[in-house]
């Protein structure tokens, strides 16, 4: 098999080895994918009349952005925002605090197998369900309002942070850990002296990132009754007050941008 390639290479004929060796299989796969794509697209039925009608409504909505109304629902907006920001901050702090032990437990290189399995289980449960589904559950359990929202976001934060933290710990420079262990350090001292310095910048960066995810999510879960700016937004849309909706969306955009700007600064500073 290799001999002819070597002979060809001798004459300057060389091509990179293909990812899939069998040429027939390669073409068959490509053709299959293409066929599936065409069939799948054909199966989507589009009601063009409805689209035409909806276009103008959509345009109305967009046009509202030209004249956002911050004033007439001012107190609702301010209350919603404060609620959202409170929810965001508390849920991030609680979520990160709970995610650290789970993340440590879910790193295979520093945890015994039983603890590892339990912590991975927690992560899986938290990551399987999208925030909205969890929010619906907690709204049923705790009633409408920001408490349900806060618990939802904290729960989602645990899965997100613990998974990424555990992966970071599994990737760390093991020699540094060995060196600290060789001094006779206990398990906690090793975590504090060898693991923490290596993962801290990423932990801070991820927390900042999660902070702005939580703010955005707080707007979404408000729609299912978990309080915050999302609830205000939902009310304004159902009342066809698109100018107020536009104002709320603009504020959300501004806050997300601000978070993004701050978090990139913090990340650079912690490197």
């Amino acid at each position: 098999m290799s001999a002819p390639r070597e002979r060809l290479a001798e004459q300057g004929e060389w091509r990179r080895l293909p990812f899939i060796g069998d040429a027939r299989l390669r073409w068959l796969l490509a053709l299959g994918v293409l066929l599936y794509l065409v069939l799948a697209l054909a199966s989507i039925s589009v009601n063009w009349a409805r689209v035409a009608e909806g276009m103008s409504r959509g345009l109305n909505f967009l046009a509202a952005f030209a004249q956002p109304d911050f004033v007439s629902r001012r107190s609702d907006i301010v209350n919603g925002l404060l609620e959202s920001l409170t929810m965001t901050l508390t849920s991030t702090v609680i979520g990160v605090a709970l995610a650290i032990p789970v993340g440590l437990g879910a790193a295979r290189n520093i945890s015994p197998l039983p603890i590892y399995l339990v912590c991975r289980g927690i992560i899986t449960v938290s990551r399987t369900f999208q925030e909205i589904i969890i929010a619906i559950l907690f709204v049923v359990m705790f009633g409408f309002g920001p408490l349900a929202g806060m618990i939802t976001l904290a729960f989602a934060t645990i899965g997100f942070m613990a998974k990424l933290l555990a992966e970071d710990i599994e990737d760390l420079d093991w020699r540094q850990v060995e060196a600290v262990r060789a001094t006779g350090a206990s398990w906690w001292q090793t975590i504090n002296h060898a693991v923490q310095p290596q993962v801290m910048p990423r932990l801070i960066g991820l927390s900042m990132y999660r902070l702005d995810i939580n703010f955005r999510e707080s707007a979404v879960i408000g729609i299912v009754g978990a309080g915050g700016i999302g609830a205000t937004l939902n009310t304004s849309i159902s009342r066809y007050e698109y100018d107020t909706s536009a104002a709320i969306l603009l504020i959300i955009i501004a806050i997300v941008l601000l978070c993004e700007y701050c978090s990139s600064h913090v990340r650079r500073w912690t490197q």
């Binding site: 420079d173 060196a179 001094t183 006779g184 206990s186 002296h193 060898a194 310095p197 290596q198 801290m200």
Partner: protein, 278 residues
């Protein structure tokens, strides 16, 4: 002080890294462990402080059997055998002083180390050691801001702060240039003499091993194939350890390094100069 009896290590992958090793190291002896890559040198010294668990055999340090110690007792024993690593293994994001002080982790409790409130005597000793290795000025620098040779000095200071009686040294010069390598080896050698420390030094560079060790042990495929003085190590034995090669150049190198070592006996100071680095 250290005795290995029938130590064998088989990794989970099935590779036999060490096969029936018998070795005894008296107090104050500097022993170089040479051999080709994969011969089991690193595994051997890691079995001693149990970073790697030996599969069978016994390792005795000053009368204590190290195999099968509980976690708490292991911690106490690890304090007296300090390790110096290839590529330094400093914690990059900690400062030089934090790295050196981490040598005391086996002695202090968690909260003291967490708050970096080490006993005053430890701090005094840490600073004295930093001065000794010529890095007192780098006290608060981050470890990753130092050059290779400087990092290895910090690694040595960390090891000595443990107040060990045995040094386990794993390829101390593998990532250093020839001059820095010699300075580091000389420093280790001097410190061993000052404190009457025994040392096992894994080293690739046969010329350095000859120059700085009292005794050389050759390892090949997990077995000891040579155990003797540097003078007894000739081309024939090198062939046994490493395989067929023209060893004339290594022996010639020895003469070149011999005069290199003479100034050290008279003036140990230059090796502490760090101005030339970085």
């Amino acid at each position: 002080m250290l005795t290995l009896r029938a130590v064998t290590k088989r990794y989970a992958t099935g590779d036999l890294a060490l096969n029936d090793i018998h070795l005894s190291l008296p107090r104050g002896q500097v022993m170089a462990l040479i051999g080709p890559s994969g011969a089991g040198k690193s595994t051997l010294i890691r079995c001693v402080n149990r970073l790697v668990e030996p599969s069978s055999g016994s390792i005795e340090l000053e009368g204590t059997d190290l195999t099968g110690l509980s976690v708490g007792r292991l911690r106490e024993v690890r304090r007296v055998m300090a390790m110096i690593f290839q590529e330094y293994a400093l914690v990059d994001r900690l400062t030089v002083m934090e790295n050196v002080l981490s040598g005391r982790l086996g002695y202090v409790g968690f909260w003291r180390s967490f708050l970096r409130r080490y006993p005053q005597a430890d701090v005094v000793e840490a600073f004295r050691l930093l001065e000794r290795v010529g890095l007192a000025h780098a006290l608060d620098k981050r470890a990753d801001a130092l050059s290779g040779g400087q990092r290895q000095r910090v690694g040595i200071a960390r090891a000595l702060l443990q107040d060990p009686r045995l040094l386990l040294v794993d390829e101390p010069t593998a990532s250093l240039d020839p001059k820095t390598s010699r300075q580091i080896m000389r420093l280790i050698r001097e410190l061993c003499a000052e404190r009457d420390l025994a040392a096992i030094i894994n080293i690739h560079d046969v010329a350095l091993a000859r120059q700085f060790a009292d005794r050389i042990v050759g390892l090949r495929a997990g077995e000891i194939v040579f155990d003797g003085t540097p003078a007894e190590l000739d081309a024939e034995i090198l062939t046994t350890i490493y395989g067929e090669e023209d060893w004339g150049s290594v022996e010639g190198d020895e003469e070149g390094t011999a005069d290199d070592s003479t100034p050290a006996n008279t003036t140990p100071a230059p090796l502490l100069a760090v101005g030339g680095e970085r």
